[in-house]
């Protein structure tokens, strides 16, 4: 991969009420941030399953951001508290297994923190750029695709096809 041209692929799982709205505010305020991050809207940070993270890594993500409402400000009162415990464990598990902490980052961004959203996304992008491509996982991905083309493409065959036509 050409490192000069390499742009990290970052996935953000954001809650519908705070961070997604905060991102909307960043847009309304025309704040600029790098285009590497694509957002997946979920209802609450509490509904993000750690397997989503693994799935994203399996799809070639270099970094992941999970973001929800500030503690006590959760639209669902307590979803983010449960998320906080869950991520504390999962993050430490990944770290122990050898995945750098910066690959998976977390934040609380409220609906009124457009600036913070832009800053956080910029920071995550910067961190991931500094870390470089997530070769550890991507090596496994390419091996897997080579070995099991059917399974690898079971649900993304079409998508890959299209990716080629686009790029």
């Amino acid at each position: 991969m050409d490192n000069q041209k390499w742009e990290p692929k970052i996935v953000a799982f954001v809650c519908n009420w705070c961070t997604y709205t905060g991102a909307d505010l960043a847009g309304t305020s025309r704040m600029k941030y790098p285009a590497n991050t694509k957002m997946i809207r979920v209802m609450c940070s509490g509904s993000v399953d750690p397997v989503f993270i693994l799935k994203a890594f399996e799809r070639g993500a270099d970094g992941i951001l999970v973001s929800g409402c500030h503690p006590n400000d959760c639209h669902y009162n307590a979803g983010n508290f449960h998320a906080r415990r869950r991520w504390d464990f999962f993050h430490e598990l990944l770290d122990f297994i050898g995945i750098e902490k910066g690959r998976l980052q977390f934040s609380w961004i409220s609906a009124s923190e457009g600036k913070k959203f832009a800053d956080v996304v910029s920071k995550v992008t910067k961190d991931i750029k500094a870390m470089g491509p997530f070769t550890n996982y991507q090596k496994m991905n390419s091996e897997f695709t080579a070995l099991f083309p059917e399974e690898a493409n079971a649900d993304s065959e079409i998508i890959n096809q299209i990716k080629e036509t686009v790029l």
Binding site: L54, F89, N141, F148
Partner: protein, 294 residues
């Protein structure tokens, strides 16, 4: 031993329980689990340093069969459990898999077990979970046997290994676990022996959507082992059966133990120790560590 057998016999004869889950001797340094439903069979029951299996695993699995079969009998089961196995029972009660009143716990004063069948029980061959064990007496029981004895002293190699891994760089750690997970053949023995893996349909068996790739390639192995460790974090009681059952010797308890350390350090929680404390998963504290979040 005699008291144990008599007690079990009495339970079955009086109809207080419909089965006793226990150990029977196979050879000198080997036992196997048995489920006794006939009072006559209770003389097979034993308890010694070679009772390695965590019988709590049968509470969820056998119970369904037993209960379906025995319409007119009580649903109550008796289980012989080492003090550490009682932790698993506690966790199962907390997770609504069994009710405390449906279970009769027969436990022992324990001074450790051998690390595997066939090894002489001594300081060198003691199971790793026994080394710094703090519960030589069961925390919950209905009947207790055995005398209190000293546990042989041994060094905690597993702990040292964890520290060794933590000293490695991320790349080295990744390589280490990649090599370990590479051995995985997805036999799911770890799942089968785990008392807390009681789901009828495991996450890895789900196909729509496919949560974890089932072919035994590195990537699926990686995901499976991470998810297994994660699903057990804050829940695993540290019985170590998964590692013992693993046919390819993946050091699974390293992960479990590391997560247990995390639970204790960050939340002062040890799984399966108390029926009163809320489970770690499923509860929260507003003052939980917030450093992770920007």
């Amino acid at each position: 031993m005699k008291e144990l057998r008599e007690h079990a016999k009495e339970l079955l004869e009086k109809g207080e329980v419909s089965a006793v889950i226990g150990y029977s001797q196979v050879s000198e340094k080997r036992t196997k689990p048995i489920i006794v439903t006939d009072p006559q069979d209770t003389d097979q029951l034993v308890f010694n340093e070679y009772c390695l299996n965590n019988l709590a695993v049968y509470l969820t699995k056998a119970r369904i069969k037993v209960s379906c079969r025995t319409k007119d009998k009580t649903l109550k089961l008796a289980v012989t459990a080492k003090p550490c196995d009682v932790h698993s029972v506690v966790a199962l009660i907390q997770e609504n898999q069994i009710h405390r009143e449906d279970i009769h716990i027969i436990s022992f004063n324990c001074h450790g077990v051998a690390k595997d069948f066939g090894f002489e029980f001594s300081g060198d061959n003691i199971a790793s979970k026994c080394i710094n064990c703090e519960t030589h007496k069961p925390l919950y029981f209905d009947k207790i046997f055995g005398e209190e004895k000293e546990t042989p002293k041994a060094s905690d190699d597993a702990m040292e290994r964890i520290q060794e891994i933590e000293r490695m760089s991320h790349q080295e750690r990744f390589e280490f676990f990649k090599n370990e997970f590479d051995k995985c053949i997805k036999c799911y023995a770890c799942r089968a022996v785990c008392p807390l893996c009681y789901c009828q349909r495991c996450i890895t068996d789900k196909t729509i959507p496919r949560w974890i790739e089932s072919s035994s390639h590195m990537r699926g192995n990686f995901a499976w082992n991470i998810v297994r460790a994660f699903h057990l974090s804050g829940r695993c009681t540290g019985c170590g059966e998964c590692e013992r059952a693993c046919p390819v010797d993946i050091p699974l308890s390293l992960l479990n133990r590391r997560m247990a350390i995390k639970a204790k350090k960050s939340f002062s929680y040890v799984s399966g120790r108390s029926l009163e404390t809320p489970t770690l998963v499923g509860s929260f504290n507003e003052k939980d560590n917030d450093e992770l979040f920007m």
